[in-house]
């Protein structure tokens, strides 16, 4: 410590020098007075004084022996101690590095996904509003007319906008392509408070029917699609075969929602209808400054009730959901991430308890030292401080190791769930580093404070005696450490049960049938421009012709067109009823997925035809309307009756479909539509030839590696229409893997954390028991000498171990019930109280704990009574 400029130090040195000088002079004068010569008097004064620099140094140290200095001394001392016990150092640092590393990795994903900074003022005021009447989140749609009523009647929002994101065809470039478009009301950007980077955004009235064809580009689209054309403003772009003129470019990084490339006004959306039943749009708004979501919800509920009352046919049963827009965007990963964050925090706590026990055990060996320090006048706080400081090198090394580990682990983690994390940038940024540092410090305090308090509390006199004789028999330390073990086991049980629940979920998920045969299935999507394929016949003809043409490509076994291929994220649904049955109550109508297909679809994807027939070329627009239903629908609504020949009536909200009557011509096997975890497999298939539709997904079964045909198939599309873009060229197997990747990631991580917890708590149990055996050597030796049965001695120790473990399992079991209730939303096919998962968790813990108790117990039976007694 040679900080010259510490406050107050500046006058210290001269002061000290003149103080000592003054002393010397007085001494000199005294010597003179006693009759010495000048020279002698000076010499004697100096001799009497001793080394002046030594005195100065002593005084300096006294003044400036600061907190920092003593702490760094403690840290150095701690380092020396660690060097003397490398095994302890290694285990402690490894435990810390593992848990800090896991925490850092998980936190950095949470940081990137849930805590991402939004470049808008007061992002918490931006909410998504829907007319849903249930609490589970989903993107709920509304109609343009309802929206306009909400907008004019509400009092809680500064801005309320309408939007829908959908892929659009971009043509007129080098080759046709598909980009993501957002169809929005003119005030959409006002919700976010975004200003244009170039040009202008939409102005009032542009979203009216008959409004102009104007487009706003995202910065990224401007860069990549239009090579940063500086004269982009006013340039014409062709979207869905319509010419739009570019009026503005957004600032860099603004691509909400869903990575949009281009924004156009809502009335240009193909399904824009000014009819109350046409619910095709989403609502988004910025609440007024002092309005809470609850108030906004109350406001909208009143309007919703009015709408339901005034327009019962279209609006009966509507509710109101108001949810933070950020939460809406990441709702699907939110819960899994929170589960992981909780799990990894538990791991850290277990690690802390473990380290605390290690430090305690080591501390007991250092009891003599502590007692001596206390006897020599060290205060209790000083000793606690010393022990805490000694923990710092361990914590630092562990924290650093953890960071490195996290850096290594993160790419692996992200690679396990490429689609889940595709839009987020997970990095170890300043916030993550801060988090990890805080975590490390906290860990050090957590694992060092208990032992420090414990050790410093030892009463000197008694401890000096017992410490010197080494026969500490009962100490409260043992109880503390037992408590730590119980906590560790309890927390491990929570993690293990959680892990088993997820493992069983994943098994169930993987065992569930997609309904398709997945091998060698390739898909790609396209959307026909409505103004080019205007008639239903032209649309149907394109789909039919494309399917036939692709089937001719060498390597293709069969091909078909489907509107929403399973696991693509696309789907449609409808309300329906059996013809002739009473009209169901509003809001309680049967629902089924809908899909449009060309005749060869079932055969191509491997859905078996169970009854009747599939569609054929006779099912034209002029022929009677026909449908094929899934087995699940047949069973639920027709029971034992044969549905073939029966009739369905659609009661959908889409005005073009309402009241349609269909004859069922066939029944096919069930297939999952959106996710593998979905239970609902009721589905109605219609032929493309009887319904106008511009969107299609080409599916083809190949005899060769499906991806190798991608180019040939694209060429086949272009041979039909050179301006038609196709996109999302993917295999169905990929789609399924993508669908389960989040479940798998969660399962893998939880299993990892469960194992880590298991290892840590086992080490903890083992360590404490070994220590107890060590402390009770004398007693055990005497017992053996007196003829105690070795088996009994072993049981004695085992019992002590199992008592702790059972207590931990009991407490942990109860806590696990709460945990599993909390995570039900991420489970599949297993109940929160799944007996199998709980039993498996308990069993694993028991077996491992038995082993952990057996080893110390065995060593207890090997105590040599003679040696022990001689020691005494």
């Amino acid at each position: 410590m040679r900080f010259k400029r510490i406050f107050g130090r500046s006058s210290f040195e001269p002061d000290l020098a003149s103080e000592l000088q003054f002393h010397l002079e007085l001494e000199f004068q005294k010597n003179l007075a006693s009759g010495m010569s000048q020279q002698e008097a000076w010499r004697q004064a100096k001799i009497a004084f001793g080394g002046i620099e030594g005195v100065k140094d002593e005084c300096r140290k006294l003044r400036f022996a600061s907190w920092f200095e003593s702490t760094s001394r403690d840290i150095l001392y701690g380092l020396r101690l660690l060097r003397k016990s490398p095994a302890f150092a290694f285990v402690a640092v490894a435990i810390l590095a593992l848990s800090v590393g896991a925490n850092t990795a998980i936190f950095s994903t949470v940081n990137a996904v849930l805590l991402a900074r939004w470049p808008f003022s007061h992002p918490e005021k931006i909410v998504f509003v829907s007319e849903d009447n249930h609490s589970d989140f989903r993107w709920g749609f509304t109609s343009v007319l309802n929206f306009e009523d909400y907008r004019s009647q509400q009092r809680t929002f500064d801005q309320l906008a309408l939007w829908i994101a959908q892929s659009v065809n971009l043509t007129g470039q080098e080759r046709p392509d598909r980009i993501i478009g957002s169809f929005v009301t003119a005030n959409f950007f006002d919700v976010f408070g975004t200003k244009p980077w170039m040009g202008r955004l939409f102005v009032r009235g542009e979203d009216r029917r008959g409004g102009p064809y104007v487009a706003v580009l995202s910065y990224e689209a401007w860069q990549t699609r239009f090579s940063s054309d500086p004269r982009i403003l006013g340039r014409q772009v062709t979207l869905n075969n319509e010419n739009y003129s570019v009026v503005g470019v957004l600032p860099r990084g603004y691509r909400l929602p869903f990575e949009s490339d281009v924004y156009v006004t809502a009335q240009h959306q193909t399904s824009y209808h000014r009819e109350r039943s046409a619910k095709q749009f989403l609502m988004l708004g910025r609440m007024k400054q002092n309005v809470t979501p609850t108030q906004a919800k109350a406001d909208f509920s009143t309007i919703a009730q009015r709408l339901a009352h005034d327009y019962p046919t279209e609006n009966a049963g509507i509710g109101t959901v108001v949810i933070d827009f950020r939460q809406a965007l990441n709702h699907s990963v939110r819960m899994p991430l929170l589960v992981l964050l909780g799990a990894v925090a538990l791991v850290l706590l277990i690690a802390c308890a473990n380290l605390a026990n290690l430090v305690l055990a080591r501390g007991l060996e250092r009891r003599g030292e502590m007692v001596l320090r206390t006897a020599l006048g060290a205060r209790r706080t000083r000793i606690i401080r010393q022990l805490l400081s000694e923990a710092i090198p361990v914590a630092l090394a562990g924290g650093l190791g953890g960071l490195l580990l996290a850096r290594g682990l993160l790419p692996l983690l992200l690679r396990m769930a490429p689609t889940t994390f595709q839009d987020v940038k997970v990095v170890l940024d300043a916030r993550v580093l801060l988090f990890s540092s805080l975590l490390t410090v906290l860990t050090a305090v957590l694992f060092a404070i208990a032992p420090a308090v414990q050790l410093s509390a030892t009463k000197s006199a008694s401890a000096l005696n017992s410490g010197i004789r080494g026969t500490v028999k009962t100490d409260t330390g043992a109880q503390v450490r037992a408590a730590f073990v119980i906590c560790q086991v309890a927390m491990s049980i929570m993690l293990l049960v959680g892990a088993f629940l997820l493992i069983r979920s994943f098994q169930k998920l993987m065992a569930s049938d997609t309904g398709l045969s997945l091998d060698n299935l390739l898909t790609m999507e396209y959307r026909l421009p409505r103004n080019k394929y205007t008639s239903p016949e032209a649309q149907a003809a394109f789909h039919r012709e494309l399917a036939l043409r692709v089937a001719q490509v060498p390597g293709v076994v069969s091909s078909a067109i489907v509107q929403s291929v399973p696991f693509s994220g696309n789907w449609g649904d409808t309300h329906f009823m059996r013809e002739g049955t009473p009209v169901p109550e509003k809001g309680k109508e049967p629902t089924a997925f809908t899909n449009l297909i060309t005749p060869e679809y079932f055969q191509t994807v491997g859905i078996p035809l169970l009854r009747g027939r599939s569609f054929n070329d006779q099912d034209t627009g002029a022929a009677p309307r026909v449908a094929v239903i899934s087995r699940a629908l047949a069973q639920r609504y027709f029971g034992d009756q044969d549905p073939v020949g029966q009739r369905l009536q659609l009661i959908d909200t889409d005005p073009t479909e309402n009241g349609e009557h269909l004859t069922i011509v066939g029944v096919v096997g069930n297939a999952k539509q959106i996710r593998l975890r979905d239970q609902d497999e009721t589905e109605i298939y219609f032929p493309y030839s009887q319904k106008p539709e511009i969107f299609g997904t080409l599916v083809l079964r190949t005899a060769v590696d499906p991806m190798s045909l991608a180019n040939a198939v694209r060429q086949a599309v272009w041979s039909l229409d050179k301006d038609q873009p196709v996109w999302k060229i993917r295999t169905v197997r990929y789609l399924v893997q993508r669908d389960v990747e989040d479940t798998r990631l969660l399962m893998v991580l939880m299993t990892g954390f469960g194992l880590l917890a298991l290892v840590l708590s086992t080490l903890g149990t083992y360590g404490v028991l070994s220590n107890i055996v060590g402390q009770r050597r004398q007693e055990i030796g005497v017992r053996i000498a007196l003829g105690a049965d070795l088996g009994k001695v072993r049981d004695l120790v085992m019992r002590q171990g199992m008592k702790m473990v059972l207590a931990g399992i009991g407490i942990g079991g109860l806590a696990a019930v709460a945990v599993s209730q909390a995570i039900t939303s991420v489970l599949y096919g297993v109940g929160a109280l799944d007996v199998g998962a709980f039993a498996a968790g308990f069993m694993v813990m028991m077996v491992v704990a038995l082993l952990a108790s057996y080893l110390p117990a065995r060593s207890a039976t090997r105590v040599n009574p003679a040696a022990v007694l001689r020691c005494e």
Partner: protein, 109 residues
């Protein structure tokens, strides 16, 4: 010199406090006074005096101030603070108890 005794650390603090209880003084003065009052038995080495003074000042038991001496020289004077005074009282009674107890043992055994 053989009859001079080394001082235990705690004892030196006590002596300094006691000396300063009479009047404020500088380091040399304190040393002289202890030596005089103990009839040359206790001689305080500078090597322990000044560290002790600085230690006591850091603890807040004494405070220091630069003043002029009678011979018009600048010297650093120490004086007892309020907490120094009560500390002195405590340590004195402790000392009396201790020395009484030791005397009892020594006289009676």
């Amino acid at each position: 010199m053989s009859e001079q005794l080394d001082l235990l650390q705690g004892t030196l603090d006590l002596l300094i406090l006691k000396t300063l209880a009479l009047e404020a003084n500088h380091g040399w003065g304190i040393a002289q006074r202890i030596q005089q009052v103990s009839r040359d038995v206790l001689q305080v080495g500078q090597g322990s005096l000044y560290p002790a003074l600085h230690r006591l000042e850091k603890k807040g038991l004494i405070s220091s101030e630069w003043r002029s001496t009678e011979s018009n020289r600048n010297a650093k004077y120490y004086e007892l603070t309020r907490s120094g005074r009560s500390q002195l009282a405590r340590e004195l009674s402790e000392w009396h108890r201790m020395s009484g107890a030791i005397a009892l043992v020594l006289d009676n055994v």
